[in-house]
């Protein structure tokens, strides 16, 4: 009973504190962000779904420009007889931000590398794990709920091609939609 009363009294103070913080510019140069999440990816050519575990680190080099590194570790295909056995990715590139209070809209591009292997149904001997270049464009929305935490929702299109199976090239183009909880710290103060 006492605990409930304390929480009830503290709640307005917490809301007031959040609103007070919202009036200050929250994102600026020197902010470092991290995320970790699960990423479903639609393999556009095959129409199947890949499952990745993803993470990112992002540093704001300027007030509205950040440099972001993302990694997506391929876990499996959603369907049986998935066309890919491996399609893990690592990318680095800039993100351009438009801020509105605690809301952050961003877009950017990123060159990267994929570790890819088509399924053995094509040709077990030829379909080896290969390191391939890729390029991606992405956009997203972030809401900073607290000094050190944020919610995010991102969409990412990645273009790559596995050019070494007897049947020809395998298009590895994927559309990813992922979101969740992230963390941020300010490593440089003005």
């Amino acid at each position: 009973m006492v605990r409930s009363a304390i929480i009830f009294l503290y709640l307005p103070l917490l809301v007031a504190r959040v609103h007070a913080q919202a009036e200050q510019p929250f994102v600026r140069a020197g902010l470092l962000k991290f995320t970790a999440t699960i990423c479903p990816a639609l393999l556009l050519d095959a129409g199947t779904t890949n499952i990745h575990a993803g993470g990112s680190a992002e540093y704001f080099v300027e007030d509205r420009i950040s440099f972001k590194g993302e990694t997506f570790w391929f876990l499996d295909g959603q369907q049986r007889n998935a066309p890919l056995q491996q399609n893990s990715q690592l990318s680095f590139g800039p993100q351009f931000h438009h801020m509105n209070g605690r809301l952050d809209l961003s877009a950017g591009f990123a060159p990267g590398l994929s570790l890819s292997r088509p399924n053995a149904t094509m040709d077990a001997a030829a379909a080896q794990v290969r390191l391939l270049p890729h390029v991606s464009i992405s956009g997203g929305v972030t809401f900073y709920v607290w000094d050190h935490m944020h919610f995010f929702l991102n969409a990412r299109y990645v273009h790559a091609r596995y050019a070494s199976v007897p049947e020809g090239s395998v298009a590895l183009d994927e559309l990813m939609l992922y979101g969740g909880l992230g963390w941020q710290i300010r490593v440089k103060h003005r």
Partner: protein
């Protein structure tokens, strides 16, 4: 290609482009960046578009002259029977024909330079059938920086690169794929498009 460039241009035009930080406007600035490469006309064919990932260090010599020191890893097809991986390492000199102080948002340039290429070709059916070739190249083209921040720019570049090396190509004689390397030298060119992001780190002098 178009689906990548159009959003990028839109993003660049929507951003509040700013003048370059005066401390970084002249010579001496050292920058670091990443880049994506699209290679056309491989083996003289439009439809075999190679894709590459790389990076560059940019050292500005004077207000009108800049240099790019770059590395690219490209992947593409080699005819109908094989695939190739290329490593490009080289440099380009960038010249700004317009006064950089007057071009606050867009800074166009012409470029020329040298490149060394290591090409590794492999059969699509047998990974043990492969060949390797080193070549040197020269490149020239045009590009433009889109100044998107005090220290950041996005660059769009088109250049033609011509390689001097031995002619290496794939054959399928019915019994399997082989690679044939001709004697003498051969010229082989391709058209490269780059999308780059660059961040100015410090002034070296």
């Amino acid at each position: 290609m178009r689906c990548l460039l159009v959003p990028l241009c839109l993003v660049s035009t929507l951003l509040p482009a700013q003048a370059q930080d005066s401390a970084y406007a002249g010579g001496g600035s050292v920058s670091l960046g990443v880049r994506s490469a699209f290679s056309f006309f491989n083996d003289g064919r439009w439809n075999d578009v190679g894709l590459g990932t790389g990076g560059q260090v940019r050292v500005q010599l004077s207000e009108r002259v800049n240099t790019d020191w770059y590395f690219d890893f490209l992947s593409g097809t080699s005819g109908n029977y094989g695939h190739r991986k290329d490593l490009h390492i080289g440099w380009s000199v960038l010249y700004y024909p317009f006064d950089p102080a007057a071009t606050r948002h867009v800074n166009p340039y012409i470029l020329a330079g040298h490149c060394f290429d290591n090409a590794r070709l492999s059969s699509n059916t047998d990974a043990n059938v492969r060949a390797e070739r080193w070549s040197s190249a020269v490149q020239a083209g045009v590009g433009s920086h889109l100044l998107v921040g005090d220290r950041s720019d996005v660059s769009l570049v088109a250049q033609y690169m011509i390689h001097l090396g031995t002619d290496l190509h794939a054959h399928d004689d019915g019994e399997g794929v082989t690679f044939e390397q001709e004697n003498g030298v051969s010229l082989e060119g391709h058209l490269l498009f780059h999308v780059r992001y660059n961040y100015k780190l410090f002034n070296a002098w």
